[in-house]
C-alpha cells in the first residue's frame, strides 16, 4: 500500500504543489485547521445530503485514482448511509483530475454531465466500479451508459462534447488549489466555521466515524 496509496499531483513529471498561499488557508499550513472558513458553494447536483447539516465534507477525487475508488467504496458509502442520509453530513464531491491519469478529466466530464440529468451518484458508482476496465481501454462512455437511459446518455454525450462541464471541473480544481490539495483523495471537513483537511492516506471509515462523532458531540 505504501507508495501507491495516494496519487500525488504531478506537474511536468515532477511532484509539485499546484498553488500556495491563497486566501482561504494560511500559507504553508496545508493541514492546519482554519477558523472562519466557509466551504465554497457546491454544484448542488454534485453534493449529497442537507446543506444545513452540521458538518460539510468535501472530497477531492480523481476518478482514475485507485485510492479514490477505495475511499469511495470502503468509506464514503458508509458515510453516506450513516451520516449523510440522517442529515449529519453534507457531502460535496470535488473534481481533481490529475495530469498523470489520461482519462481522469474525461471521466470527470461524464460525471459532471450526469449531474445535469440528476444521475451523478449513479455515474460515480459505475465509474469507480469499472475503473480498472476503462482505465485500460479508455472506453468511459461505455461504462457510463450502463447507469443511464439512452435518452439521458444522449444528453450527457451532448454536454460532454459541448465542453460546458469543464467550467465546473476547473472550479473544483481551483478550490483544491486554494486548499493546497497535494494528493487525491483529499478530504476537507468544515464544522462550525473551522476547516480541517484530514491527513492524506490515513482516512478509513472507523477513524473517520470517531472524528465525525467527536465533532457532532461538540
Amino acid at each position: 500500500m505504501v507508495g501507491t496509496s495516494m496519487h500525488r499531483i504531478l506537474k511536468g513529471g515532477s511532484t509539485a504543489l499546484l498553488a500556495v498561499g491563497l486566501s482561504a488557508t494560511p500559507a504553508g499550513a496545508q493541514g492546519a485547521s482554519t477558523a472562519a472558513a466557509k466551504p465554497a458553494a457546491a454544484q448542488p447536483s454534485k453534493a449529497l445530503g442537507s446543506i444545513s447539516a452540521p458538518i460539510t465534507m468535501e472530497v477531492f477525487s480523481d476518478f482514475q485514482c485507485p485510492s479514490c475508488r477505495e475511499l469511495y467504496q470502503n468509506t464514503l458509502r458508509a458515510v453516506i448511509a450513516n451520516y449523510v442520509l440522517p442529515g449529519k453530513v453534507y457531502l460535496v464531491h470535488r473534481d481533481m483530475p490529475l495530469a498523470m491519469h489520461p482519462y481522469a478529466r474525461e471521466a470527470a466530464r461524464y460525471a459532471n454531465a450526469a449531474a445535469h440529468v440528476g444521475k451523478f451518484e449513479q455515474v460515480v458508482d459505475v465509474l469507480y466500479a469499472t475503473q480498472a476496465a476503462w482505465s485500460a481501454s479508455g472506453k468511459i462512455e461505455e461504462a457510463v451508459a450502463a447507469a443511464l437511459t439512452p435518452k439521458e446518455m444522449q444528453r450527457v454525450r451532448k454536454l460532454v462534447k459541448s465542453g460546458k462541464v469543464d467550467a465546473a471541473i476547473d472550479k473544483d480544481v481551483s478550490i483544491g488549489q486554494m486548499f493546497q490539495v497535494r494528493s487525491t483523495p483529499t478530504v476537507i471537513i468544515t464544522h462550525k466555521g473551522q476547516t480541517t483537511p484530514l491527513p492524506p492516506g490515513g482516512v478509513n471509515y472507523s477513524l473517520l466515524k470517531q472524528y465525525l462523532d467527536h465533532l457532532l458531540r461538540q
Binding site: 505504501v2 507508495g3 492524506p200 492516506g201 473517520l208
Partner: protein, 168 residues
Amino acid sequence: MSPVKFSSGRAVLLLTRCALGGVFLYAAWTKLSQPWALFAMSINAYQLLPEWSVTLLARTLPWAELALGALLIAGWALRMAATIASILLAGFFAVMLRSFLAGNTGIDCGCFGVGEALSGQTLLRDAALGMLSFGLTLAAFRENKNRADAPAAQPAAFAAGEAGETAK
C-alpha cells in the same frame, strides 16, 4: 554543603534538556489540542500498524511526549528520559525514512499535529533532534558516572592527605 559548580558543560546540558523538552511539549500540545482521531489518521497513513494499535498509539503517544518533555526540562530521571527520547526519535526516523524511500511523500509527517507533509526537511529535523537526544543521553550517563565516582574519590583523597601528614 559545597556550592554546585556551574561549568559551560552544565550550561550546554541544561540548554539541550530544555530545547529537547520544549520540542516534546510542543509536539504533545499540537496533538492533544486536536481530536485524537486526526492523529490516528496520520499514523494510519504510514500503513504499518493494525488499527487497534493505531488507536492505542494515537491515544497514548501525545501523553508520553508530554511526560518526556516535562521530565527533560525538570531534569528528573534524566538518563531514563533521554534514553526513551532517543529511542522514540530513532523509531520516528526509521518509520519516516521507510515511507520517504518508498515514495510515499504525500502523507502527513504527523510530527506536530496534522498538516505537515513528510519531506526531506522533516527527516533532517528528526535526525537532528535524534542526534541531540543521543548526545544528551551520553552526557546524562557521563554526569551520573562522575557523580558516582566523586564520593569514592573524596575519602581516598582524605586518606592520602592524612597519610601525608603522618609521614611528616
